[in-house]
């Protein structure tokens, strides 16, 4: 238990927290203001409605894509580190 947190886990955790905050803002922050956002027009939709019906979904997918890409890079980094360490 005394050994320090491995780099891999530290980086994973930071990435997770950042993306989670982004998700929180997107899910609860944006929708809190749906009534106000509905005053604006986006592609022929009221913006608040659009965010709930499509916008948020596409951004969720983007969050997962970004996470997977970062994690793949992190995995590769770890492989390299292990190779160098023997």
């Amino acid at each position: 238990m005394l050994q320090e947190t491995p780099v891999y886990w530290r980086k994973t955790r930071r990435l997770t927290i950042i993306l989670l905050l982004l998700w929180l803002v997107l899910t609860f922050g944006v929708n809190w203001f749906a009534r106000e956002l509905n005053q604006l027009d986006f592609l022929g939709f009221p913006l608040g409605f659009y965010m709930g019906a499509q916008g948020a979904l596409l951004l969720y997918l983007a969050i997962i894509v970004y996470y997977n890409r970062k994690m793949r890079a992190l995995d590769a980094e770890q492989d390299n580190a292990r190779d160098e360490g023997g």
């Binding site: 886990w9 929708n31 009534r35 608040g48 709930g52 019906a53 997962i64 992190l74 995995d75 770890q78």
Partner: protein, 679 residues
Amino acid sequence: MLPSLSRLQRYYLVYTGVFLLFIAGLAALEQNGMPPRWVGYAFLVFTITMYATIGVLSRTSDVSEYYVAGRRVPAFFNGMATGADWMSAASFMGLAGTLYLSGFQGLAYVIGWTGGFVLVALLLAPYLRRFGQFTIPDFLSARYGGNFIRLVAVGAAILASFVYVVAQIYGVGVITSRFVSLQFEIGVFVGLAGILVCSFLGGMRAVTWTQVAQYLILIVAYITPVAILSYNVTGVAIPQVVYGQVLAQVSQLEKTLFDSPVEAEVRQLYRERADRYAEKIMQLPVSLTHEREQLANQINELKASDAQMREIVALERQRRELPHDPEQARVRWENAMYSAVDRSKPPVHHAEAFPGETPEAQQAQRLNFLALIFCLTVGTAALPHVLMRYYTTPSVAQARESVFWSLLFIMVLYITAPAYAVFAKHEVFTNLIGIPITKLPGWVAAWSKIGLVGIEDINGDGLLQLAELSLNPDVIVLATPEIAGMPYVVSGLVAAGALAAALSTADGLLLTITSALSHDVYYRIFRPDASTQFRLVISKSLLLVVAIMAATVAAQKPGTILSMVAWAFSIAGSAFFPALVLGIFWMRATKAGAIAGMLVGLSITLYYILRLEFSNLSWLGLQGQAMEPWFHLQSTSAGVFGVLAGFVTHIVVSLLTPPSPEAASFLARIRRGHDREVS
């Protein structure tokens, strides 16, 4: 790996081709006079035969194959199977209907059910796969140690999955009773047979490959009618892109329709009716006796005069159907009053967020909306039948990829659902409202017969007003092809899709329940020395028992599909989410904390649902226990309190108990990066 992957893709490509040919063939036959009923039968027989074939081909008696499909499911196909596992009768039938009825407020389901996958991706899937056992109770028991937590987890998994599976089987009953005219109760058991052929022989392996097949059918079935509608209305067959302008038209129609004097008159009539019921309820039991006497007098008068026998019989039936005692009268009249109150309210504008007449009412709507999103996201990330799917991929990286594919495949339906609702509303507003009741199209009668569509000419003008039409949310998707006057083959296709959605989810859920019982309880706790052969025998027999129990409950029609499903989410979320997430991300989380958190969370959620939804539980000896909701939140959002209480309890109790020594090594193992894959 690659050749086998492309072989699988070839199989499913051929399968999809055969299915499309089959639809085209039926369409041609219908043109040449094949009766609709046979179209319904053809779809039912064809699709269930397909699933059964796949089920039989993938039968297995290997434990790892049975529980986790041998961990050989590629990310792409696991995504598709998760999609079918995930999208239930509620998503397929209920969602567009709820969006139709409540407009913007229904988007909470769309946001919640997709947003939850971000939590699955970030917080759970990679770690569960890295752990690599069979069930969710396995994970909790390994992290926290001991069998007691395993039992708590098994209980919660069974409770959530059972509520959920009842909703699916109910959906199957609705479909079969409408499309092949079976009696509802018989339809339920036919659906059961369809579920069993897939999961009984081959466990997870068979379920996975049938779910892929079911995904393909359900997505084709979901998109086809709305694409046709979109083409008819706008000239573009991609409804998701163009429905903005249709929404604008609907809003325009709403403005003229809602404020028209005749609609106001109908709403006034309903308000008066609600007042009459309220008065009658106030004066119970006198009002009931009074009513009975009045009917008796009428009958005697009619008998004395030489009136038509038919009228007398009708009145006598009315007398027979009067409530037997004041208690029953109260329940029945209260329902009638609430339904009249509902119809007397001015309808909601489709795109309006948080509608309400006062700022307080709007604020309550906003809170309900966000609370429901919260419950659904957290529940998504806690439902055992979905999480289990991430045990089946070959590696951690594949588990991550497969969350991406899951969300992509699921999104196709969730992006379409709001469009579906808008197009259906456009169709109803332009083609149904204001036409003479005697000239209503045939589908209205067909659906009224099974009680899901109601028409009442309350103002007696012979025309249909919006407030006189009541639609159960579960019929919108199934009836849209008929509402828009499409050939019956489209209706058959939609029914087949809905059936696929219900069956695939029910399969996954039944498997979760039985693996919890056979693997976690029987094998892990009672008989660790049981032979693998015998474990599978136990598992298969339990599957049968649970399936029959679920069908029996479903035959009682306990609630609408969507509300049953929302309860399952709250139950799963409050039981599992804190224990899983804290278990992975917080080393200090202890066994005592986890157990306390799970029990407290679960109890609060159940308490809230029961107090709000079931004012009388006669079998528990409870009566008149209905209470005012906390912060105006509906029972579908019960999980908010359960999850938050679960987190707080878990953290407080963990800090009060000594840290568990095994946590560090367990966490080091699941938090590690991937092991090099041999490529």
